[in-house]
Symmetry: C2
Subunit: 765 residues, 2 copies
């Protein structure tokens, strides 16, 4: 075209060049686009018939320009684009004409028509020039960068709290080259390495830290939890190995045994000289552990207990430390005395001699490769009439008298069993705290990568960090808010547990069960999202999301299956209701109904349910009201539903089953309300104003994200109207955009040592 | 108590025994429970002062009964419970009195009071006896079992369709002991095994089946997809190895090359004598592949092309077959001719000699261990000025003339590149079909396990299969419905692709991108749920959910990142709109507005939005209307939103970014509507009435589950009211309950050979 005689004789034809170039270089030249352009050409009265024919020939799909034509057109247009301040194709076209001659008055009259055509073809006039200029485009998306409005060290201090010293110590130890990660492919090498790591930690006194001082410990349970949490920035196999040895095995001896057991075993357990197992789960009884079938039969003549596996499916399964390293085990079994079954007891059974040879009567099978945690040697254990002395019975709750009779401070088998389990609730604190650390590691990796990784960008401008994309922010920022929220709740749970009173145990157990479920499910979801957000890089084991996800995946199952636990939480909540309903006299019922009605009046205020003011939507009081309303409403409706079914004669087991989905929601609503309350408490207690400000943002993000997730429910109830849920969604996106700017400092406040984070993609370049 | 003088002298006191036993054996004896019972005792005028003192002493927390007391109480109560038809504690109490004497008239008068106390304490009167009887309780939950209303073979036939023969052949081959799974821990052994498996498949002619007959193939692309899908019941590393070799490497030569390349290479590729790679992705350019920086510079003097990696981050990355086995690669690079950049071309570059030694100028680094697919040898490739002859240029779309000039049938770089990618869209059909098979395997394992695995149960009755629990059903049944739904959509997509016309390509590409995203995300979610639903067993590698999940996890990333693809789908949908809006004259706009208004009138009918009739809720027309309304509404609002932003002067890149979340929903709404339509089509075309009936149920489950998921949106729009979304939730639970009964036959219809499913927990005992 450029060399055509027509252009030379009438430079005004240059006005079409940007248009022609753009339609050819665009995806497809459709018939209607051709028709539009042909119509335009036809309508231009200043063109001669020859010129029209020539111009039409330039948009004929049967004879497209050559690639070289297009390249030279582009060069020509670029020159003109740089010379004009106009941004539209027509502006550039006019400049081209000027570069080759002068603009005829007839052409000038057509400017409006040409501009219309440009719009009709769907081009954005104020951006056309970007295709031919470079470095001039400055979109908001590409300009967004990391900011920092708070002191990272100050926030780290808030997170670490009273445990700062032990956390620092653990990090220092783990930073040692001895703790460098190894490939997880070879089970033998990996398991040996994890054992060695655990021994190094024991040598630091970490293993026994929660045990009594008389047994080599420091009586510091708070430190134990902080160690578990900090170790979880490292290999999670090590964490679980550590937890099996010092938590499950050691604590079962500590809490279910008495002084004689403490003296005999705890010191060696704490130093890892006596590796052991916690043998509760059986093949046929996992969640329903009360149904274990292994027997522990007392023989008064010999004052011994015979431990036996009655059939293959009563073998102990998934037992950590069993396949290779455990020398002893706390075995949970039905205690039989004089032919009578006294329910589940715990008894210490030796598995291997000092050389590691399996003892007679014991058969152990390796569970083999697992989805994760392959540094832990899980196994199945079978007992064939293994005889142990009576003193091996952990006798805090189950005793045999000198006369050979069963005795217990708790008469009911049921209550005794759940009391025993209750003493072990610490596991349901350690595991979520470990899962939280894994989530923090995953987010630190994905966020640091997303802040640096650039992909795509506006035409004519550099590529953009992927964390500047709204979907990427929506995928990661709410999880960042969640880990902050959960951090403070788990601190609260730990505090409640450490300062527990007997009468608070039911509440603390429900809290632990619920937070364990919420946090570990959140970990699974977070790490899955991190994997996907890091694309192929997230799939490479070297970047650690692989191990973080797969190692922590079982956290939703062990220490209690999450779905089962959430139902326990719900039942615990309903217990309160059972009393409330049952003991209510007329006056009480009237009060109750009035209270419910008051809620309706104050909270379902027609102005409030439609209130879309940003101040209101960001107000923690609105969040608390919404969370509490949901909790109370779901709990009440579940109670009523159950009562209705049972009143109608439905079997209560069926009634609970029909309502199961509802009950799980009761558990969630309760936990979410607690998490929000504790986050708000934390903010109120934060003196540093800058830290307080960012925590406030995170808290609003957490709260609004939950409300958005549950918006179907809120709309169903009429608690929110569509106009408000839409405003919430918009604000949520805005909060993600705001938090993204501080996302890197926020993950830096976790202060995960580089040697532990280790992912090459998380390294700042 | 039983031996007390009081009981002996007044057997009527036995009436309290069941109550006392129950409060002691129950979880905790609360102060208010004690107060209630003490009040009851006090109110009984037939009791003497001594008797009252005695009875009160039995509920004193300071002196609980011994475990032996409780055991003997229970024995006593059991006897009575078996002798009465009454179910309440009072009924049993009366029977106990009868067993030891006669019921006094005074006691008889108190029956009502006693029953009230029982209720006040929160016991369910009609169930109390179950605690003391065994085998009499028959809850609905425990009675639910697997049914079968259709012929499994008939359904299998419907699923396999025209590909039944090749599917059968592939299954037969895979059933051979040679294909037994091996441990994935050792990369070297595993990769060698996968290569050997691929060679065995090639020997069967599976590798070349899609290639022209002249090149040793059978010109049967349909069979190729069926093979991929069936292989995916086996090890997914093998599937990907197979896909890299015969799909990516082979098809790039086939579709981007011309006859000379076909003749020279395809036969050896099909037999795996010439293993190769598809080297497109670079470290810095994954999703944005158009930005690859590797150069292919043409030298006319020598008629050669020099391939070069300009910097470390332009290395080819994640390239399958690269680390060990590939001898050649199709390399995507910017073609430079006479100093000018003509955009991306594809050129064949040898990597290794026949002995497997890396050639000069080539540096390959092993990507090492990955989250999954460890049987595939991914690597990074760097080229240092590697010279290849001009004939290695795959020249269907990019040619060099005899004069050394660049030439192409497609002038625009952009269009040429996307045309080239378009020819490779088959990968976006093979991957979702593979992901679907992985989902089917996971569901087959989890459902067969859930049907057999028993845990918990009503008091006094056997434990219940976990698949009888409502939450378990809600977790798995919708995914079962999804795989059936997606099966038919993917059949449809394949059919469209095999019978494609040039002008349909844009639509088919959008369809493939969307279904690939939807199906692979669904696979990730399905397999995660299957893992959790199988508890600890799901974590053991022997049960295969581990590998299924981890191997398929990358499916959401490769062949196009799902989030990016869903935005492409949305943009493709908006293109239609762009034309609609742009070319609309006044008449057109009026029509459009009228059409929108009509929708409002017919679909937002106030009766319909509140209609909770089951017939209506199950009506496919309701489902279709809802899906279509959502699709149109989201698309329209996204278009308007973008237009508003751009009209207001926002940079279009920012406008798209602000709307990104919305755009992803456009993609989902489109794909979901297609999936539903194709499922309904399939049902209409199913002649077998029994199969039709079960497919109808699955389709309703799929549709209502999606509506329930999106209920927040529907409520926001006013398309559904709360009363209707609640009815949908209830019906959804009912459908899960119904489908659960046929769940095992439904997964059996996938006809996955036992040797491939292989999970011990899925074996019928």
């Amino acid at each position: 075209m450029l060399t055509s005689t027509q252009l030379k004789s009438n430079p005004s034809l240059f006005v079409f060049l940007p248009l022609f170039y753009t339609v050819w270089s665009d995806a497809v030249l459709t018939p209607s686009e051709i028709a539009t352009i042909e119509g335009l050409i036809e309508s231009q009265q200043w063109l001669s018939a020859d010129e029209k024919t020539f111009l039409r020939s330039q948009v004929n799909p049967a004879s497209p320009p050559s690639p070289d034509d297009l390249l030279s057109w582009k060069e020509e247009i670029k020159k003109a684009a740089d010379q004009t301040t106009g941004k539209s194709l027509v502006d550039i076209g006019f400049q081209l004409v000027r570069n080759h001659g002068t603009i005829s008055p007839q052409l000038l009259k057509e400017q409006g028509v040409l501009t219309n055509i440009e719009a009709t073809l769907g081009f954005i006039s104020h951006e056309a020039a970007y295709n031919f200029q470079s470095g001039k485009r400055e979109s908001v998306t590409q300009q967004l960068t990391t900011q920092q409005t708070f002191d990272i060290g100050a926030l780290e201090k808030i997170l670490d709290g009273e445990n700062a010293a032990i956390i620092k110590k653990v990090k220092t130890i783990l930073d040692d080259p001895e703790f460098r990660y190894i490939d997880s492919g070879n089970l033998e090498i990996y398991r040996a390495k994890v054992l060695q790591w655990a021994q190094l930690l024991a040598a630091q006194g970490f293993g026994s830290i929660a045990y009594p001082k008389s047994c080599g410990g420091q009586d510091d349970m708070a430190a134990y939890f902080a160690i578990m949490e900090t170790l979880s920035y490292h290999d999670l196999s090590l964490v679980v190995k550590f937890g099996v040895q010092f938590g499950l095995w050691g604590m079962s001896v500590y809490f279910l045994g008495t002084e004689k057991h403490h003296k005999k075993y705890l010191k060696d357990i704490g130093t890892l000289d006596l590796p052991g197992c916690f043998a509760m789960t059986e093949i046929h009884h996992g969640s329903n552990v009360k149904g274990v079938e292994t027997t522990a039969t007392y023989n008064h003549t010999t004052k011994t207990i015979t431990v036996n596996t009655p059939h293959k499916n009563a073998r102990k399964e998934f037992i950590g430390n069993a396949a290779l390293h455990g020398h002893m085990a706390t075995v949970f079994a039905k205690l039989i005395v004089e032919g009578k079954d006294y329910g589940v007891c715990a008894v210490i059974v030796p598995l291997r001699d000092k050389k590691g040879n399996t003892l007679s009567g014991i058969t152990i099978e390796d569970c083999g490769r697992k989805m994760g945690l392959n540094g832990v040697d899980n196994g199945k254990i079978e007992f064939k009439n293994v005889v142990v002395p009576l003193e091996n019975l952990l006798d805090r709750y189950t005793q045999i008298t000198a006369e050979g009779k069963f005795s217990s401070p708790i008469a009911s088998d049921n209550r005794r069993f759940f009391t025993m389990l209750g003493t072990l609730v610490g596991g349901r604190i350690g595991i979520p705290r470990a899962g939280l650390s894994a989530s923090k590691s995953g987010l630190a990796i994905a966020i640091k990568y997303g802040d640096q990784r650039k992909q795509f960008g506006p035409e004519g401008a550099p590529e953009v960090p992927i964390l500047n994309y709204r979907t990427h922010q929506r995928r990661l920022m709410p999880y960042l808010a969640n880990v902050y929220a959960l951090h403070f709740s788990l601190q609260y749970l730990t505090h409640r547990f450490l300062n527990r009173k007997e009468e608070e145990m039911q509440e603390i157990e429900a809290l632990a069960a619920g937070l364990k479920s919420f946090t570990t499910w959140n970990a699974t979801a977070t790490l899955q999202e991190c994997r996907e957000c890091c694309g192929g890089k997230g799939y490479m084991s070297e970047n650690r999301i692989d191990a973080l996800k797969n190692d922590s995946d079982i956290f939703t199952t062990f220490e209690g299956d999450n779905t089962v636990l959430m139902q326990l939480v719900a039942k615990s909540r309903l217990t309160e209701f059972k009393h409330e309903f049952a003991h209510m006299n007329l006056f009480g019922i009237l009060n109750y109904v009035a209270d419910q009605a008051k809620t309706k009046i104050t909270e379902l205020n027609p102005i409030v349910i439609r209130n879309t003011d940003e101040d209101h939507l960001l107000d923690p009081q609105f969040h608390l009201d919404a969370f509490r309303y949901r909790e109370r409403n779901i709990l009440t409706s579940a109670a009523k539903r159950l009562k209705r079914h049972i009143d109608e004669g439905m079997d209560s087991f069926d009634a609970f089953n029909v309502s199961q989905h509802h009950l799980v929601q009761v558990g969630f609503a309760y936990i979410e309300r607690i998490v929000l309350e504790k986050f708000i408490d934390q903010i109120q207690n934060t003196a540093d104003k800058n830290c307080q400000a960012i925590l406030k943002k995170l808290c609003a993000l957490f709260a609004l994200n939950q409300i958005d997730k549950n918006k179907g429910w809120y709309l169903e109830q009429g608690y929110l109207e569509g106009v408000k849920t839409k405003a919430i969604r918009k604000l949520l996106n805005q909060l993600c955009w705001d938090v993204r700017q501080e996302a890197v400092p926020l993950v830096n406040a976790f202060a995960i040592p580089d040697s532990l984070l280790a992912a090459p993609i998380a390294t700042v370049k």
